[in-house]
Symmetry: C2
Subunit: 186 residues, 2 copies
Amino acid sequence: MAEKKSDRTRAAILAAARERFGADGYERATIRAIAADAAIDPAMVIRYYGSKEKLFAAAAEFDIRLPVFTDVPLASLGETLVRHFLGRWGGDDTLRVLLRTAVTNEVAVDRMRGIFAGQLAPTLRAHALDRPDVRAGLVATQMLGFALCRYILELPPIVHMRDDEVVSWLGPTVASYLTAPAPSQA
Amino acid sequence: MAEKKSDRTRAAILAAARERFGADGYERATIRAIAADAAIDPAMVIRYYGSKEKLFAAAAEFDIRLPVFTDVPLASLGETLVRHFLGRWGGDDTLRVLLRTAVTNEVAVDRMRGIFAGQLAPTLRAHALDRPDVRAGLVATQMLGFALCRYILELPPIVHMRDDEVVSWLGPTVASYLTAPAPSQA
DNA sequence: GTCTATAATTCGATAGAC
DNA sequence: GTCTATCGAATTATAGAC
């Protein structure tokens, strides 16, 4: 009995929640709509997850799994990072949920900060780069800005760009944020 | 009688609306809170602007006033654009309102698209650059990503960065998006 | 012009039958 | 475990007195 019915119900709720939160944002995504998508009763959502806030926390919970990339030569680290984020954005709803909801939900903001300050910065530190926090922040501006324009604003030229084109354009930018000498100032 | 009392009331409502929409987003910003900020009755907000949706449209209405920059040499156009956007983000609430609300409000998305597709792209076209729409989109990813990280997510290293540092880091990126040869493909 | 009172919805969450 | 019924709170928007 490895697969209980309650487990499938839980998973169905979570999948519907990810879709709704990602499509509508935290405020407009209603328990009722999520329940309808999961084909169950709205009361069940509360029973399984306690509250809307906790359901969101569960939907936004995921393993960022950002490798440390210590074996990647510094010269190609920028391109590697762009490819990695492209794969993650495309394959998983969770990052889009975070991006969509980070505007009004403090939990999402904290989690987004954790990805770049808590995961990417240490990776850069492992490569012995100076000012890893600043460089991680700059990478965040470019990668999150790309995600914003592609998945939320849906700017036509960004939406239609092929992945290898994206790498060609953004790779050198990220690389420069990693390795370019920092401007003067302590 | 150039200054009626009703005009001041209208202006007070609009100013409070910009502040609330920018701070809380469209859904969480309530008519009641806006009215309280403006020190008037909530019913007056509806009387003056008809509905919350129309009030938002008015709050997000503004002249982007993006100069064509035809007199700026191409070599320094990137840096000029970064400085221009920095000035606009800092001095006016409206861009932050758009950014905060673009996640859940279609009006804000359209207006944001218009800035880059309808204003920046023609500027690039005036400089005889190839693929102006793609280049304008790329500039959007970097500038909007910076604004997102600084004003919404408030990533510490981005928040604390001085304006001239921002120009030093982002200027070359924007410049490369304007003038770097496009990757292969039609 | 301004404000009180309230209508009409909608939402999150709960209680309890089955 | 599941669903019906509903509560209580919050919202936008309106009607009408002053």
